[in-house]
């Protein structure tokens, strides 16, 4: 099937972004409303496409649109074409839906910023790039969107770039993402070299006859790309600093959508990972490490946004892990991605609402008892909290429980380790989220008398309420009758692979998970009954390490940055002394010789005559010697 409406999904926000930037200050008064309407229009197109898709039969649902022939070299053809199938539509609805809510929220949140129009232009640009990422029908089209969201992320993290630390944070995110992008470009090159095509269909068709080594290399490179974009180990360090951006950006880009692009990439490339168990194992390892890594960082952060960022990292670790478990996991990963998109975006907006009321204070040790003054924020945040820790029947329960279940079912020792890791992760998640809740909303007030926390305006709490409803309902919605899994099955699990042998009954896994959650909550509640305003210094070495993000920056600095600096310093010295030195030496020799030779040119005719005589004599002497 083809459709002619797909292009609007990208063209509308892209046009709006360019328009708002080119209009300049003239658009300051209405730019934010324009951008929000555009975003809502994109959501409308997405919903109508979804309706149309839903009414078609299962194998007729994917639609394509050919835009133009992009690269045409000999037999190598790349078209700029869009593909909207059951997987992309999930993302389209999430991106445009949550995106629109966050546009609305930002109208109020950014109302005091004189650059609000520019902010909205960037947001629209992000929507366009992210939609291109999920709608491209080839890896090359995806790559364009992939770079686009990277740029949007950079621009928005550094939106307040008058603060040097924020500008540095933006740069850090950009550089870390470049490392991942190298992986994606290598993956595209491998795909072209192996299959002669970079479209999803072309690669899928070539996979069956491909060598396992090629598939493993391809999978590993895609994983590297996913690790960069999704802040997975070992490229995770940028996400915490990315919180320098305005909070709506953290909610949209660094929680709900962009950072989940890695999960999209892996699930979209399911045919590659199905062909290589080594690549799947790598994915699982990365996901498992990151989910614990992020969770541990989350336990020690006092900055509310950084705690949420660590939580995001951890939750994406869950998704990556699920997508590494093969056909049974892809749909579950997407389910967790969607529910996470709702509750994490909701919580970030809640955090933004608290900051809005507290004069941009982010230190949770300065909060306390905010639940009383900001009841709506408290309620919506609380629903998101219940969703993320996985209390039934909230959204996170369904998706995370499924992940724990299929992790246990992975089989053998691998299953035990993965299941144990996810279970431990669930307990730590419950601990740090409870800690965050208790420190922010409960207890006694620890803020200055100068601060006057107040409930945020309706434009801010309305999106929070919608997202909170999403965090309550989506899990049930996606899980009733396995609706999401069946919806995605034609794309992700065409052969209907069933989960392997069950290690434990689902009810046992759920009980275990719930037990872990209760343990985590109980521990946090007892531990954070009183919260000192200053962070205690006499803490264990583990806490200190966790406060420093498990030494990720120290590691990067000693292992990567310093040797890099030494290398560049060495290269500069080599260039200066060896290359430039040689050039300078040649110059010195020539100029020294010419200084000497210049003395001959003294302007006296007689000395020239003498030189001629000497020359003639020398010539004759030479001839005489030669003929002798």
């Amino acid at each position: 099937m083809t459709s002619s409406h797909l292009v609007y999904l990208i063209a509308l926000p892209l046009f709006s972004s360019a328009f708002l930037i080119l209009m300049g200050r003239k658009a300051d008064k209405w730019g934010h409303i324009f951008a929000t309407l555009i975003s809502a229009a994109v959501f409308g197109v997405g919903v109508s496409e979804f309706m149309a898709m839903h009414s078609r039969a299962g194998d007729m649902r994917a639609v394509t649109q050919h835009l133009f022939s992009w690269i045409s070299v000999g037999t190598f053809q790349v078209d700029a074409s869009l593909l909207l199938d059951q997987l992309s539509i999930c993302f389209v609805l999430l991106i445009s839906g949550v995106g629109t809510l966050i546009h609305i929220y930002s109208i109020a949140y950014m109302s005091h910023d004189k650059d609000r129009r520019r902010f909205f232009a960037y947001l629209n640009f992000f929507i366009a790039a992210m939609l291109l990422l999920v709608l491209g029908d080839s890896y090359l089209n995806l790559y364009v969107g992939w770079e686009g969201v990277g740029l949007a992320s950079y621009l928005l993290i550094g939106f307040w770039n008058q603060k040097p630390t924020y500008a540095t944070a933006a740069k850090k995110a950009f550089v870390a993402n470049r490392v991942g992008d190298v992986g994606l470009s290598l993956a595209i090159m491998i795909a072209f070299a192996q299959f002669g095509s970079v479209t999803f269909d072309g690669v899928k068709a070539g996979v069956h006859g491909a060598s396992p080594a090629a598939l493993t290399a391809l999978g590993a490179m895609l994983l590297l790309a996913a690790a960069g974009k999704s802040a997975q180990f070992p490229l995770q360090s940028w996400l915490g600093d990315a919180m320098a951006g305005p909070t709506p950006v953290s909610a949209l880009i660094h929680a709900a959508t962009m950072v989940t692009a890695g999960v999209y990439l892996i699930t979209r490339s399911n045919f590659i990972f199905d062909g290589s168990s080594t690549a799947r194992l790598l994915v699982v390892i990365v996901g498992g490490i990151t989910l614990l890594f992020g969770a541990l960082i989350g336990t020690a952060k006092d900055d509310i946004k950084k705690a949420l960022a660590a939580s995001t990292m951890s939750q994406i670790g869950y998704m990556i892990l699920a997508s590494g478990l093969g056909p049974v996991g892809y749909a579950i990963a997407i389910m967790h991605l969607l529910t996470h998109g709702f509750f994490k975006a909701g919580m970030f907006l809640g955090a933004g609402s608290v900051m809005h009321g507290m004069d941009d204070e982010v230190n949770m040790r300065r909060y306390g008892a905010i639940g009383k003054v900001m009841p709506i924020t408290f309620a919506t945040f609380g629903l998101g909290y219940l969703a993320i820790i996985g209390v039934p029947p909230f959204a996170g329960f369904y998706s995370k429980d499924k992940i724990i279940e299929i992790a246990f079912n992975a089989g053998g020792t691998k299953g035990i380790i993965l299941g144990g890791a996810t279970l431990l992760g669930a307990a730590i998640t419950a601990f740090y989220m409870t800690r965050l809740m208790v420190m922010t909303f409960a207890g006694s007030k620890r803020w200055d008398d100068k601060a006057h926390p107040h409930e945020s305006p309706v434009l801010m709490w309305l999106p929070m309420v919608v997202l909170a409803i999403g965090s309550v309902a989506t899990g049930f919605l996606f899980n009733s009758g396995n609706s999401l899994v069946n919806w995605l099955a034609p794309v992700l699990n065409p052969n209907n692979v069933e989960s392997g042998s069950e290690l434990m009954k689902p009810i046992v896994v759920s009980s275990l998970a719930l037990l872990a959650v209760i343990l985590g909550v109980a521990l946090a509640v007892t531990k954070y009954r009183t919260v000192p305003v200053e962070a205690p210094e006499d803490v264990s070495i583990f806490t200190k390490v966790a406060r420093r993000d498990l030494l990720q920056d120290a590691f990067n600095e000693t292992v990567l940055m310093r040797p890099g600096q030494i290398l560049t310093a060495g290269l500069v010295k080599t260039d200066y002394f060896a290359i430039d030195g040689l050039v300078r030496l040649i110059g010195a020799v020539v100029s020294g010789t010419s200084t000497f030779l210049r003395r001959i040119q003294n302007g006296y005719v007689r000395s020239y005559a003498l030189i001629m005589v000497i020359g003639a004599l020398a010539l004759i002497a030479t001839i005489w010697v030669v003929t002798l």
Partner: protein, 99 residues
């Protein structure tokens, strides 16, 4: 008389001319020394013509004389102009090209 003596004479005349060009400052004298060298060459040509028994050398010496006559015209004109402009016929004073 041994014919090679003419060649020795030619060599001596040439050497005197060359030394004169190098050591004398007066442009007229330098000029005369150049003429001396040319004539030394002419003498050598004529002598070789005699030794070889043909007229090639004699013809070459005529050419030399013609060229030398032209050179005298131009050269003397330059020397006179130089003397007029700077009241000196010293070749050492004419070192403007360097500066």
């Amino acid at each position: 008389m041994d014919i090679s003596n003419y060649l020795y004479l030619s060599a001596i005349l040439f050497t005197i001319g060359a030394i004169g060009v190098v050591v004398r400052r007066n442009a007229i004298v330098v000029f005369m020394c150049v003429e001396l060298m040319l004539n030394a060459a002419n003498l050598a040509f004529v002598t070789f013509s005699r030794i070889n028994g043909n007229l090639d050398g004699q013809v070459a010496s005529f050419f030399t004389m013609v060229v030398a006559a032209c050179e005298v015209v131009v050269g003397l004109a330059i020397i006179v102009t130089m003397y007029r402009s700077r009241r000196s016929a010293s070749v050492d004073d004419a070192s403007l090209l360097k500066r």
